[in-house]
């Protein structure tokens, strides 16, 4: 038996231990990746309560479905996929149209320009089609590579690249419109 503590095991080992019945292995996985998955859920949903529900659903789903993890992709990729799908399921259930309702880019006067920027960018992101929004959240905000984002979203890498490209152009256009630039 490997005497190393769980904290020294890599992610794949933890999943294997969990599947084999170790009662603490999944808790270590949760501790290790919870902040990152929280960030994904929050950036995907744009809503803290919704993100809380989604990330909880995702971790419970991962707990139950760990036996289906084949080990080909990284554990983080697998977790990302579960979290993103949990968020999408919830968003689609709550808002059945593929595109979220448009937000008015309000003319907020705020002493902190960065707050204006974050609000405008968040609202502009919400106006993007779901595929483009997810691609930008994963690649640009979350730092995943195109290859990893493709695995998470279960689409081709070329699809991720084109979604990122079109999403950035659309966002840039919306933000230019907001700022009154041509």
């Amino acid at each position: 038996m490997d005497p190393r503590p769980l904290q020294e095991r890599d992610d794949r080992e933890l999943v294997r231990l969990h599947v084999d019945g170790d009662p603490d292995a999944f808790g270590e996985l949760f501790r290790r990746h919870r902040d990152r998955m929280w960030a994904v859920a929050l950036r995907t949903t744009g809503n803290r309560e919704l993100a809380s529900d989604c990330v909880q659903d995702a971790f419970i789903s991962a707990f139950r479905r760990a036996g289906s993890y084949r080990g080909e992709a990284a554990v983080t990729t697998w977790l990302h996929r579960i979290v993103v799908n949990a968020c999408l399921d919830r968003l689609r259930r709550d808002r059945p149209t593929s595109q979220l309702p448009e937000h008015q880019l309000a003319d907020r006067h705020d002493a902190h320009a960065s707050v204006d920027t974050r609000l405008d960018v968040r609202e502009a992101l919400d106006r993007l089609p779901e595929g483009q929004r997810l691609a930008l959240v994963l690649v640009d905000m979350h730092g995943l590579s195109v290859a990893e984002a493709a695995l998470v979203l279960e689409v081709a890498e070329g699809t991720v690249k084109s979604r990122c490209s079109r999403g950035r152009e659309a966002l840039a256009a919306m933000l230019r419109e907001r700022s009154g630039q041509p």
Binding site: Q7, G21, P23, D24, F26, G27, F30, R31, R32, H33, R34, D35, R36, M37, W38, A39, L42, R43, E49, S52, D53, V55, Q56, D57, F59, I60, F63, R64, T76, T117, R118, V121, L136, V139, D140, M141, H142, G143, L144, S145, V146, K161, C164, G167, R168, E169, L171, A172
Partner: protein, 260 residues
């Protein structure tokens, strides 16, 4: 020990970084949302603990917990169904390792080690009235004279216990209704998450073995733990122990704290 950082480092030559719009730089510069909120950590840890407890019972179906649990007070109430599916609660005192369902239907005293009970569902232990000194063999009795080894009952209420509110939480949670409909105990588990390991853990810390125990597989201050309520002739005390606590690795995270 740190968790995975939210944004991994990107190299300057990363072809994915080409972006004439500048949006990528804008998005990546918006800032990190911060760590998962502590209450959400507790909530999910409690859910994981409940799932683990259910898993110990040969894949018993798990009832999803309510999603929004703003306060710890709801953990016990909402997870009562999970506890009911995960672990049955037979007569708490005096019975040996008999089948749970058999013990619920037993209608008369049997061996010296058995405190028979005709009750379908036992009242929660916080409402248990300790027997008068010298009482022997009555239902619900904790009299040491009739029981060499007090019953250990394991539940999984999904409660997120905290050091500041341990006694109150134990009192409130143990007052919740336990559905005794579950069947035989599940597969052996290591450490304090199982009845045997919890007994060994408590015994190693000086708890007399005749005292009945209810052990709740839950969380304590955000980490997985077992919270145990131990009943003497006159009162009850609560301990919090690590899940790995056993005869040779005995440790109390908290307690004993008298709760009544």
């Amino acid at each position: 020990m740190v968790s995975t950082p939210p944004v991994p480092p990107r190299g300057p030559d990363d072809p994915d970084a080409e972006d004439p719009t500048g949006i990528r730089a804008l998005l990546s510069g918006l800032g990190d949302p911060g760590p998962m909120p502590a209450d959400l950590v507790d909530r999910i840890n409690a859910s994981i603990a409940a799932e683990q407890a259910a898993r110990q019972h040969h894949g018993a179906p798990v009832v999803p917990l309510h999603r929004r649990v703003p306060g710890w007070q709801k953990y016990g109430l909402v997870a009562a169904a999970v506890a009911g599916l995960a672990v049955g609660v037979p007569a708490l005192l005096g019975t040996g390792p008999q089948d749970v369902m058999a013990s619920l239907t037993r209608s008369s005293d049997q061996s010296a080690g058995a405190a028979s009970s005709a009750q379908a569902i036992q009242p929660p232990i916080a409402s248990f009235t300790p027997p008068a000194p010298g009482t022997q063999g009555t239902p619900g009795s904790g009299a040491r004279a009739t029981s060499a080894l007090g019953r250990v009952t394991m539940v999984a209420t999904g409660t997120g216990y905290t050091s500041s509110e341990l006694a109150e939480q134990a009192r409130t949670t143990m007052l919740g209704p336990f559905d005794g409909s579950s069947g035989a105990p599940g597969a052996p588990v290591k450490g304090a998450m199982g009845a045997g390991g919890l007994r060994e853990c408590l015994t190693a810390m000086g708890v007399p073995s005749w005292m009945p125990v209810v052990g709740d597989v839950a969380t304590f201050d955000g980490e997985r733990a077992v919270v145990a309520v131990v009943s003497s002739d006159t009162d009850q005390s609560v301990y919090a122990v690590p899940t790995w606590c056993d005869a040779t690795h005995a440790k109390a995270l908290a307690g004993p704290v008298r709760i009544r």
